[in-house]
Every structure is written in structure tokens, then in C-alpha cells.
Subunit: 181 residues, 2 copies
Amino acid sequence: MNKIRQEKLECKDDKRIEQFLSETRTGYLGLTDGEVPYVVPLNFVMMKEAVYFHGAAHGRKIDLIHSNPNCCFTVSEDYGTMVSPIPAKTDTAYFSVMLFGVLEVVTDLNEATAAMQAILDKYVPGYYHNSLSQAHIEKYRSSLGSHTLVYRLVPSVHTAKENPLNPQLAFYSGRKVDMDI
Amino acid sequence: MNKIRQEKLECKDDKRIEQFLSETRTGYLGLTDGEVPYVVPLNFVMMKEAVYFHGAAHGRKIDLIHSNPNCCFTVSEDYGTMVSPIPAKTDTAYFSVMLFGVLEVVTDLNEATAAMQAILDKYVPGYYHNSLSQAHIEKYRSSLGSHTLVYRLVPSVHTAKENPLNPQLAFYSGRKVDMDI
């Protein structure tokens, strides 16, 4: 694993990383199609240090995962642009996490049901009075009529970077300045 | 190129795609590190049907680009969760674009200056009274002190998908329902 180039931006606080992943709605799953990368946005949930998401049992994503299950799952939030009269110092505030590992299809029905329930708990908390049943997961089908699979990524490596608000800079508000170059 | 599996979600309106790319702040650049994908979030700008972004002249990203310049650049917005008493119909509203092609380093100083100006115009519109000069771009250095490169992606293939608000569903508001399964 390469080291993060900008070491001062590295976040090693696993509690904060976990909190960030639990709150962020979209992750970007990177796969390979031979020499060509493929990046698809997904809803996901963290459960017991693994990432879970679901998808159709047919299509390009599952074909690529079967050919090469190595993935990079990147989750990032952009908190806005910080400005300076020096253009090179105009900068974005962000938090981002990269998870690397091998994707697996969840075959255990208990685990798949728990993951689907965790996805509902994350995206529509409190919406359903009752919990998902295993019988429901068994017959769960996507809107296309094809079976839905649940995938699990247990990251073997993770890195996180944070570029926090710099107190010497301001957030962009539209006020004009002369460029200082 | 594979066809989009859910053809009914495909967006072929290039004007809307261009508008979406011009408004969205973050793109996810997918690269490969041998068999392992690598996905990095970036600020970017569209200019004359090409994507431009900048980055340090040293580090993992540029090493990977030199080894394999094939990329997938994915830009997506999540517009919220739509709910239904049937959990399988609970769904995310989104617009997403994937651009595929070969990355190049911009060596022409006019083009690099125009791209950096376009990035400022996108992220801090009207902030600077004056425009970037070529002399400034020549000495432009990242906050780490290493030279900054400007990259260009002229997409050879693009696909876009839209899952619009379904008028038969509601946005998630926290109201409870019984699961209809």
C-alpha cells in the first residue's frame, strides 16, 4: 500500500472514519474491466466493519465482480471551497475514505437479511413498523424482475484524508478580491 | 461498450448531461493499479467537451495514470430516498454520468491556463477581479511545493442514467408505515 502523499491530511481516527461512513449516503465502487476502470455510485451500509450493498444478479457490475473481485470503495464529502487572494491556496474542505479489498456475494440468508435491514435503517430510519423477514429477502426481486444479490466488502486496507476548514482562509461567499500573485 | 441494463433509466439528452456536469462539484476518477482499482474524488471542469482537473506532479495518482491512462470518471448526485410500503420499491432518486477515455497531461500552456481559469470560474465565480496569467500557471505549485499538472479527459464513451422522482412514491419524511410484503 502506498503511503498517503499528503501525510498531514491523513485521518487515523477509526471512530471518526466509522461515523463518517455511517452518515454518508453514497459510495463509489471502483472495479476493473480488464485494463479499463469502472466506477459506480451506490447506497451502502457499514455493519461489523464490513460494507454491504445490494444489486441485481445480472448486469455489468456483477460480471466485472466475477471476473475480478478486487475493488476500491471511495466515500467522500465536499464541505465547500475555501478562498484566498492567492489562487493556489483556494482549496476544498473535504473528508474522504478509501476502502480496498475483495468483494464477496453474501450467501448466508441471516447475514443478507441483517444487511438489507441495516440499509433500510440507514436510509429510511423508522419508516417501517415491522422488520424484514428472511422469507421476504428470499423472494426479494429488483424492479426489473431479476434477483437481487447482497455484496460484502471486508476492507483489507483503508485510508482516510481530511482537509478541514483552514482558519486562515474564508469560505467562498461571492465577495470579490484582487488576485495576489 | 455494454448497454445500460436498465434502459428505461438511460438519459440521452447531451444538453442535460452537460448542464449536470457543469453544476456538480465532485467527480470520482477511477484508475487501475494492476488488478486493483483506485477511485479518487476530484474537483473538475468541463471545457469544450473535455474534463479538466489538476493534481500534483508526484504521487500515486500520476504514477497510476502513467502506467495505465485508461480511466472512468463518474459524476453523480443523490436527490433523496423515495419510499413505498413495499421495501423493494424504496428507491433513490439520482442522476449519474460515466465518462470513459484516456487521460492526457496538458502540455500547452494556453490550454492549461484556460482550464485553471475555468476551474476558478466554476468553484469561486466572480471571486477574483483579475484573470490568471500564463506566468502564474508556469510557477503554479501545490501547497506541498511540488508542481501541479493539468489533466484532460476527452471521453470516447459516455453513459448517463436518471432515476427521477416517481410520482407514485413519496420522499422519505420519517412517517411510519406497515411493511407491505
